[in-house]
């Protein structure tokens, strides 16, 4: 029996507002426990929520970037359940009237084909706090309670763990582009729950789904889903029934483990939040946020391909982060050689970022600094290997390319007369090789070039050396 995998993702993104969703407490991460709390977000009696306007704008921006229809009226609802990290005993969320619906995101599969993934809905909700368990006691930290989130729910359009991971990555890229979420997955401000079920190939009816909670890396998402696919395939083929349950991914064993089993669906007793009036999003706010949207990753990639003559692959990598794309464009403007810039970005620059685990915005070489180096390379002042050495020295000394090249006398000898003089000297001392060359052993040319470079301390412009040698040794030469 062949099975089809059906996956849908629910992604929670923390909106990067400075204050919480319903009070003025700070949202800063890593503070001492219960420092960023007040009566409102710690659920004292009598408090009422007041909606953070910027959070609404960020959520609207998110919805628009995901091609959603923003509802003019949406309603906050209470999701009721007891847990110590939930101070009010309910979470303020949105239920049957969410902020936005019916969007889509395009992903690119490994074979290069594109696929549109439906976005069912985008809604706003507040985050819960955190429980910390010691040996005998449990403690509650409410710093995160009330931090604004958007929940982005996909259609069950994903068919493989790889697609799921591509979709998650794409969402991250978009959220970073529109600057509404820091997307720091280690700090938990971008999290993912996955729903997965298998059904017989061609079947219409969905299989029983399993929810895997809190997958906070692309790798874990893919691993967890891959494991679950195998696990369910095996179960189904042996006639075992899949139980609807919530699971957690165990990163040490790379398996998913049951957290709780669901009988039907949880009863959260949703009802309209009476402390907040319905959220009305007027056309002007939608228009304003539409105008605030930057060029989004797909559009930017297509433009890079046509404007800079890049391959799809190069365009995709250079537009994977907005800052990286901006850096590239600034560099191109200064160097005026898109291909050269693209190659350097993808080799030297990205290597350095990865090695130092930093982002492009923290990179010590600005586009003007790097452009100075690339302009010298492009103009033949230095050669490729010198350029790499200078690049590394720039990183460690923070000196400009020109300073390093000048100080070390690294610039290439461009003067044809001077190079000819060296060539003549070399040829004079290499009569044997010249003879061999003339007899047809053209591979000795490499040796001769090497000698010339050595004599010039590696500074002779290789293309001029080649040109002169060709002239002197080439057919019809009377040497």
């Amino acid at each position: 029996m062949k099975y089809e995998t059906v996956i849908g993702l629910e992604i929670h993104a923390q909106l990067s507002t400075r204050s919480k969703m319903f009070c003025t407490c700070a949202t800063s991460f890593g503070e001492k426990p219960n420092l960023n709390i007040c009566p409102v977000c710690s659920g004292h009696p009598g408090v009422l929520p007041t909606l953070n306007k910027l959070a609404v704008e960020y959520a609207v921006k998110t919805a628009l970037a995901l091609n959603c229809k923003v509802n003019h009226k949406s309603v906050f609802a209470r999701k009721n359940y007891f847990y110590p990290d939930l101070p009010k005993g309910y979470q303020i969320s949105q239920y049957d009237e969410p902020l936005a619906v019916n969007g889509w995101v395009e992903i690119v599969l490994s074979d290069g084909s594109k696929k549109k993934i439906g976005v069912t809905r985008v809604h706003m909700e507040e985050d819960a706090g955190k429980n910390i368990h010691n040996d005998k006691t449990s403690l509650v930290d409410l710093n995160r309670a009330g931090v604004p989130l958007v929940e982005i729910v996909s259609e069950p359009d994903l068919r493989t763990p790889e697609e799921a991971s591509q979709y998650f990555k794409k969402l991250k890229t978009i959220l970073e582009y529109i600057e509404v979420c820091d997307c720091n997955m280690e700090e938990g401000n971008l999290r993912c729950d996955a729903n997965i079920s298998l059904r017989e190939q061609g079947a219409k009816k969905m299989g029983t789904k399993v929810e895997i909670k809190n997958l906070n890396s692309f790798r874990f998402l893919e691993k967890a889903l891959s494991y679950e696919v195998q696990h369910q395939e095996k179960a189904l083929s042996t006639g075992e029934k899949i139980i609807q349950e919530t699971k957690l991914f165990d990163t040490t064993s790379n398996t998913t483990k049951s957290m709780r089993q669901k009988e039907g669906s949880d009863d959260y007793r949703y009802f309209p939040e009476p402390d907040l009036i319905p959220l009305l999003v007027v056309d002007a706010l939608i228009k304003k946020n539409k105008e605030l949207l930057p060029e989004l990753p797909d559009a930017k990639r297509e433009r890079f391909i046509s404007q800079y003559g890049l391959s799809f692959y190069d365009g995709d990598i250079l537009t994977s982060y907005k800052d990286l794309a901006d850096y590239y464009e600034e560099l191109c403007k200064l160097v005026k050689d898109p291909k050269l810039c693209s190659n350097w970005m993808q080799t030297e620059v990205l290597r350095s970022l990865n090695e130092n685990k930093i982002e492009i915005k923290d990179f010590s070489l600005t586009p003007p600094m790097l452009s100075e180096l690339l302009v010298m390379l492009k103009g033949g002042v230095i050669n490729q290997s010198t350029a790499k050495d200078v690049f590394n020295e720039m990183l460690s000394t923070k000196k400009s390319a020109k300073t390093i090249v000048d100080k070390k006398g690294l610039s290439q000898i461009q003067d044809e007369g001077a190079i000819e003089k060296i060539v003549d000297e070399v040829l004079a001392g290499a009569e044997g090789q010249v003879k061999q060359y003339k007899e047809g052993k053209t591979n000795v040319m490499g040796f001769i070039v090497g000698q010339v470079m050595k004599k010039s301390n590696g500074k002779a412009n290789p293309s001029i050396v080649n040109k002169i040698l060709k002239k002197k040794l080439g057919e019809g030469s009377d040497l």
């Binding site: 009566p39 710690s42 659920g43 004292h44 009696p45 009598g46 408090v47 009422l48 929520p49 007041t50 909606l51 209470r78 009721n80 007891f82 110590p84 101070p87 009010k88 005993g89 309910y90 449990s138 509650v140 039907g264 669906s265 009863d267 007793r269 949703y270 009802f271 009476p274 402390d275 907040l276 009036i277």
Partner: protein
């Protein structure tokens, strides 16, 4: 001097304070002493003796100028549901027995800003759930007119405090009649403002879509001053209307005083609601009120509120539903009562809530949880919300033909303590006339209309259009002129 103070209105007191006939400290002492002498009424849960004395001394030191707010130096009390920073706030529940408020409610803050002296926190039904004030962890409040009878609820402590002269005015909350009913049982006035007119911030929530804070007083002037002091938009409560503070007292002084004859309105009577179940003495008191109003030139019209008969049912679905969610925060985790006997998280929740809440509160939490549950939501909560809309529409239609609706506040006068405690359904019937205004978010003013043969106070209520408190006050003002013996009564021998 004591008698002087007891029969005085806020404007009288303001004059005495400004004329240095009495200091704020002396005035405060008069009330504190009366509170002490009346402890058997059980009107207060927390008396803020130290705070009020030092506050009154500070006011005396500052002095009271003519230009100062009329409330400066006036002793007030608050139902133990309005948070006062640094003072315990129990909501008459064991679960909050030792909870100290970390901030001021907006009502509290506005009163403090105007210079009022807060004497203490009054007794109430636990979490404002009740009609008799017998559901208090601190014991029932006694009716000062007959100590064997209930004070009415849920703002019973506040009503008794005002009626017995333990504070000049008081503030209660009205979710289904909780300021009007005890006002009626105690011979005083109370206003339930239009929903959204007074901030709910810092007022412990019972049923968020129905709760409103309301003033209680012995005369129309005081009630107007009290309402003006706390009404108006509050950015901390998104459900407040955008209107600024009300200006009713000024309206009464400028537009009504001496010009009563030019004021004429049409009063609607929903006869079909009072045909059955109304005590004959209450019914004849209503006739007396109608006669007085006719004499004053008011016109009358019979109106229909066809869906009002469902009001009680709707109320006992919506309010417990919201309450079940609002009271979830009392879980023994962060503050309040935590049971000692628990083994795990589930046990912590269960025993803390089982031991911390009283029977009526538990009854309503269970009811509310049930009506919101999957499979029952549409049959109960959603349907109740639709009927609520129909009730609102009934009133809208009625106000096309009249300006104000007159009804008794309660079908009977105060009943005996313990008489209805075993029968929640009979108890719930006390609120049958008050609840429709809450469901329709309308303003409603309860006023005294004399007493029955046994000397127990009877009360009527005027319900008006949205945000038209002014008309309610105007009518009450004229009645106060016409029948002064109904007003300003103090239940002290």
């Amino acid at each position: 001097m004591i008698v002087d103070v007891l029969r005085s209105s806020i404007p009288d007191i303001a004059k005495m304070l400004r004329g240095k006939k009495i200091s704020c400290r002396e005035l405060t002492n008069v009330f504190l002493k009366r509170i002490k002498d009346s402890t058997k009424l059980n009107a207060f849960i927390t008396v803020m003796e130290k705070e009020s004395v030092s506050r009154s001394e500070a006011i005396d030191k500052e002095g009271i100028k003519n230009s100062d707010d009329i409330l400066k130096g006036v002793p007030v009390s608050l139902k133990d549901i309005f948070l006062v920073e640094g003072v315990r706030n129990t909501c008459a529940s064991k679960i909050l027995e030792n909870y100290v408020a970390p901030y001021d409610a907006t009502v509290t803050k506005r009163l403090k800003d105007r210079g009022a002296v807060v004497l203490g926190k009054t007794n109430m039904d636990e979490f404002a759930m009740g009609s008799s004030n017998e559901n208090s962890f601190f014991g029932p409040v006694l009716n000062p007119w007959d100590n064997k009878k209930v004070a009415g609820g849920s703002s019973g402590g506040s009503a008794v405090a005002v009626s017995a002269g333990l504070s000049q005015i008081s503030f209660g909350t009205d979710t289904g009649g909780s300021v009007r009913l005890p006002a009626s049982y105690n011979g005083i006035l109370a206003l339930r403002p239009t929903y959204g007119r007074v901030s709910r911030y810092g007022m412990v929530a019972f049923s968020s879509s129905l709760d409103q804070a309301g003033p209680m007083a012995r005369n129309v002037d005081d009630l107007a001053i009290a309402y003006d002091a706390v009404s108006g938009v509050d950015h901390k409560d998104s459900t407040t209307s955008k209107k600024g503070p009300s200006n009713v007292y000024e309206h009464l002084i400028k537009n009504m005083a001496g010009k009563e004859k030019t004021f004429s309105r049409c009063i609607g009577i929903p006869r079909h609601l009072i045909e059955k179940g109304v005590d004959p003495e209450v019914a004849s008191s209503m006739d007396e009120v109608i006669a007085a109003l006719k004499k004053l030139g008011f016109k009358f019209k019979d109106i229909e509120l066809p869906h009002a008969k469902y009001a009680l049912d709707v109320y006992y679905i919506i309010s417990p539903a919201e309450a079940s969610s609002n009271l979830s925060r009392f879980d023994g985790v962060r503050y309040g009562y935590r049971s000692k006997g628990y083994k795990d998280l589930d046990g912590l929740y269960k025993s803390s809530r089982r031991e911390g809440f009283g029977d009526e509160v538990k009854r309503r939490i269970m009811l509310g949880t049930f009506v919101l549950s999957a499979g029952y939501y549409d049959a109960y909560f959603a349907k109740a919300a639709r009927v609520r809309t129909l009730i609102k529409q009934d009133f809208e239609k009625a106000y096309e033909g009249c300006d104000v609706i007159l009804l008794p506040t309660a079908p009977t006068t105060a009943f005996k303590i313990g008489e209805k405690t075993d029968d929640p359904l009979t108890m719930y019937l006390n609120d049958i006339f008050t609840i429709p205004a809450n469901l329709a978010s309308l303003p409603s003013l309860a006023f005294p209309s004399g007493q029955n043969k046994a000397g127990m106070p009877i009360g009527m209520q005027l319900t008006g259009r949205h945000f038209d408190e002014e008309t309610l006050f105007s009518v009450a003002w004229m009645l106060q002129k016409e029948r002064p013996e109904w007003f300003n009564r103090v239940s002290v021998k």
